[in-house]
Symmetry: C2
Subunit: 97 residues, 2 copies
């Protein structure tokens, strides 16, 4: 039976990965953009991003822009692969397989 990826299945993380994998490889999104897109708090998004980072699915890039700290997030190759596998499993399950 098709196996769902428990890290990716959680709704906020699923939306995050979906948003990131539609970008070009190495393209990044700003933390604030993602927080507004997903309509979550800083702390909530931060916790979910750490979980995705620990799994090796995203890369979190902290930089200073005009002396202000900014955080950018991108999907890794492993993250793209895991997302595609999860979606494939999901599609099988939704067909009752």
């Amino acid at each position: 039976m098709a196996e769902l990826n428990e890290i990716i299945h959680q709704p906020i993380r699923l939306r995050t990965m979906a948003a990131l994998v539609t970008l070009e490889p190495n393209e990044e999104v700003d933390f604030t953009y993602l927080r507004k897109l997903l309509d979550v708090t800083d702390g909530n998004l931060g916790a979910h991003l750490r979980k995705l980072e620990e799994a090796g699915y995203i890369f979190i890039n902290k930089v200073f822009v005009e002396r202000m700290p900014r955080t950018y997030v991108s999907a890794t190759a492993a993250g793209r692969k895991a997302f595609i596998e999860h979606v494939t499993a999901l599609e099988l399950i939704l067909k009752g397989k």
Copy 2:
């Protein structure tokens, strides 16, 4: 933004609903068949079925067959509707929308 149904999103319940909605209206599956299909314990499946029943998404039919208790499960019209809405939301999210 597309809203996921939290009751249906949980993996065991997602698989249960997917298995039930592929049946004809009013067609039932046996509890034991479902438990083997999903590879879960009696107690685990029972708890998830109760949650789906409380939401009005499934109908649980307890009967005696040759003096032995048997449990049959089917999707309700509300359950089919909720499942389709959930899948539609999921498809939008997977496209990054």
